[in-house]
């Protein structure tokens, strides 16, 4: 059966069993991956899945299920299990009927047939990245390369009916020198024409090479230049903290900040269901509401939260097309471009650090946004507008609200970032942030 037929079967079955609200989403995924390390392939993977997501409400009682058995019999049994479960759970005072259509969904071209083919030349692409990293001066190159296709269909009891199809290719490269330094490169695209494995490998190799003989860094306060991969990590957390569910659960530093200044004038953050050049996303959310452009922060002012229909009703707003039945989520985050080049940003720094990559961001207090994260791969001291030498052994220990209010510069150039550490696709610039606390470990 086609995925739209499976959703239709699930919808009809749940309604027949007495559900008042049903959202049935069927997703078919095909992922081809190559992982490599030490210049050699370690594994090739192909993962195919067909899954049905089903939301049902009956007597204001709500259940969600995901099954990997979307056969006709499997769907009937699964719908029955969800409806039976409704009998033993409590009704929700926050129950909100699913939005009513008819809806029309944005058309987009986030699809490249070549990426959906089994024969996509991943091995050649991986080899290009490895060779470029080695040529740039690294001695070991590792990474992962994933090409994926998602075909998805939705039917709801609110008369939403949609189909969508996207592809993307994500390359994450890390290059190492014999001296133990490393550099990181990414190429993330929805189409092969926008994909550049050699550049990702070369950037990783270059960073690894110029990081040889790093200086230990002393802790203290200094200005920080975040390259797009680092900016994207901070921005994805801002996106998640702008979910109305997170706000309602008391777990966000953006609580009670709507229409208030939360950042500098130059900072604008948007979310799109689908956006030209973006990495996946969809034309509809899990309630069938069309996705759209949402401005989260405009010129430093928090404009609103991301909503599904339940949080929207509670906050007296309309859905923003970001459902998640339980939790609204961002799809594709986009930071507006600034006016500076990356070189201009570096020239602005009297004494600071440039960080090319980071990982392991954790929060001490989600209400204040206090967190720390660890730079990895290349990082450099900047003095009097010039990159002076590589540095090592530092940790960024700050708060996101303080950083948002301390941005001194945003680059014109931006890059799409999605990798192991940044799961929400984000179009991110380089940023200059004033007075960031840097700490180091006791040896």
């Amino acid at each position: 059966m086609e995925i739209i037929e499976l959703t239709d079967l699930a919808l009809r079955e749940a309604l027949k069993l007495g559900a008042t609200d049903v959202s049935a989403i069927c997703a078919k995924n095909n992922e081809n991956q190559i992982r490599f390390s030490n210049n050699s392939i370690t594994v090739t993977k192909n993962i195919k899945s067909l899954e049905l997501f089903l939301y049902v409400a009956k007597d204001r009682k709500r259940m969600i299920g995901v099954t990997s058995n979307p056969s006709a019999e499997g769907i009937k049994r699964f719908a029955s299990d969800l409806i039976k479960a409704c009998k033993v759970i409590s009704p929700s005072p926050e129950y909100t009927p699913l939005p009513k259509g008819e809806f029309s969904y944005p058309l987009h071209g986030i699809y490249d047939k070549k990426l959906a083919e089994d024969g996509v030349k991943l091995i050649e692409f991986a080899k290009e990245a490895v060779d470029a990293g080695l040529e740039a001066g690294a001695t070991r190159v590792s990474g992962s390369l994933m090409a994926s296709e998602e075909e998805i269909a939705i039917l709801t009891s609110g008369d939403a009916r949609g189909k969508d199809k996207t592809t993307k290719i994500l390359l994450n490269v890390r290059a190492f020198t014999d001296e133990g330094t490393s550099g990181h490169g990414l190429s993330c695209a929805a189409r092969l024409t926008d994909f550049n494995p050699s550049e990702a490998g070369r950037v990783a190799g270059d960073y690894a090479k110029v990081s040889i003989n790093p200086h230990p860094w002393e802790e203290g306060i200094c200005d920080l230049v975040t390259m797009p991969t680092v900016t994207a990590d901070v921005v994805q957390h801002i996106g998640s903290f702008s979910s109305a569910f997170t706000v309602d659960a008391g777990l966000s530093f953006l609580i009670d900040k709507v229409d208030q200044k939360v950042g500098v004038d130059e900072f604008t953050l948007r979310d799109y269901g689908v956006v030209e050049g973006g990495l996946g996303g969809r034309g509809f959310d899990d309630e069938g509401v069309p996705t759209r452009e949402n401005i989260i922060i405009e010129k430093g002012v928090l404009k609103g939260y991301l909503h599904n229909s339940t949080t929207a009703r509670k906050f007296g707003k309309s859905s923003t097309g970001n459902a998640g039945i339980i939790e609204p989520n961002p799809w594709n985050l986009v930071v507006d471009p600034g006016t500076m080049s990356v070189d201009d940003i570096i020239k602005e720094v009297k004494r600071g650090i440039l960080v090319t990559n980071n990982w392991y961001t954790r929060f001490q207090n989600m209400r204040t946004g206090e967190y720390s994260t660890i730079p990895r791969d290349a990082a450099f001291l900047i003095e009097n507008g010039k990159i002076k030498h590589p540095v090592v052994g530092l940790r960024i220990s700050d708060s996101i609200p303080r950083q948002l209010a301390s941005i001194l510069g945003i680059s014109k150039e931006r890059r799409w970032i999605e990798w192991w550490e940044v799961s929400i696709p984000t179009l991110a610039p380089t940023m200059l942030i004033k007075d960031v606390t840097i700490t180091k470990a006791l040896r």
């Binding site: 993977k45 192909n46 993962i47 299920g65 929700s92 190492f176 777990l251 339980i326 470990a441």
Partner: protein, 480 residues
Amino acid sequence: MDEDLLTSTVDLAQKLGAEYAEARLHKIKTTGCLLRNGVPEPATIGDAYGIGIRVICSGSLAFSATNDLSRENVKVILEKAVKRAKASSSLLEHRILFSEEKTISADWRAKEKKSIENVGFEDLFGMLKNIEYQIKDGRAGVAFPNRLLASTTLLEEKMYMNSDGARIRSRVPRLGFYSYITTSYQGKTVTITIPSGYSQLGESGGWEVVDRLKIYEYVQKKAENLALVVKNDQRPPKETVDVVLGPDVSGIIAHESAGHPGEADRILGREAAQAGESYLKSDDIGLKIGSEEAYVSDDPTIPHSNGFYLYDDEGVPARKRRLIEAGVIREFLHNKSTAYEFGVSSNGASRSTSYDREPIIRMANTFVEPGDYSLEELLEDIRLGVYIKSFMEWNIDDKRFNQRYVGLEAYMIEKGEIKGMVRNPILEITTPKLWSSVDARGKEVEFVAATCGKGDPMQGAPVWTGGPDMRLRAIRVGAR
């Protein structure tokens, strides 16, 4: 589960030229409940079932997975896996070989008294409502305006077969609880989790886990102590002091700075681009990195544990691994591939979290071994120190060398006695300095459950982290 499907898949792989083949039917059923400020969120059911296949052809490894279990489809994905493996030679500089291991035929189950399959949503929501009733009014003048409480069940069933003749069936039920709470006092707000550090209370077993873990008593006690965190503004001392770390902290340290760097795949660089590598090198067995009091082990066979298993996903028997003994690196965590590289036998650390994930090296239950001190004895000769009982923020670099743990429930120690609370002391320290500073360990080990992230695509593996109270001498604790 269709054993014939596994047999025919492994047989066909060999006919197609695979030097090694394995197939795993993997089923995971989950349920979940979420109560937000007393309001039930939609409850969830998950039902994931499919087959994961690995083949080695010409020294190249390929993995395929599907949830379409028709014979024809499984044959197609297998044929493609063999073809991909053979086509990988242009970027294959290092052939993948497996260690030879004893062939096992087994059928094992984690113990369960009250079947997880009989745990209903009324039970899971009932537990959350009881906890909500316990804590909703706050504690000690501190309000808890936001409470997000979650309970989960999981039933994992697997059937595994490989071309060496291993045939293994398994069944592991698990139950868990976690929570996020906002605490508020005189306009100040602090978010906490119970258990601390974004971890969980969890074990393998059925509904009896709720009693065994004493979940209600645990939450009650933690809520009382953690409520006081928001009231506290006492800065930690600036000078070097002695530090006692509680079980939550020694447990996360065991996991992050002894378990992860001891994963042989990281040491060989296989996870370099994502989870990272290790400060340890291949020939570091026998390296002294800590004091005589540094002991860390990983043991999948602990009954009721969250990371419990008896055979790994390569058919190798699980056993206790002594990672650090008396400050010396004793053993790495191995699968059959790294075991071959190191010329040892696999110690059964290979696990996959779902049918569509390849088995990779994972920790199970990683902990600091107990010593012979009571808490009073650990404290008695400390003139000035800090007792960091639990934490929230933590991180460690991708070589597992430079780490940081920020205290949540923490107290001053003065003249051998625990005094008032101290706010967010920071232990930011290198791995050798940390393990070299340990001079005593408590008698009692406590565990919490956690989900350990590794692999690409990401795999969140169920683990326990644990340890006793652990004393470190002459440490600097910073402040946020």
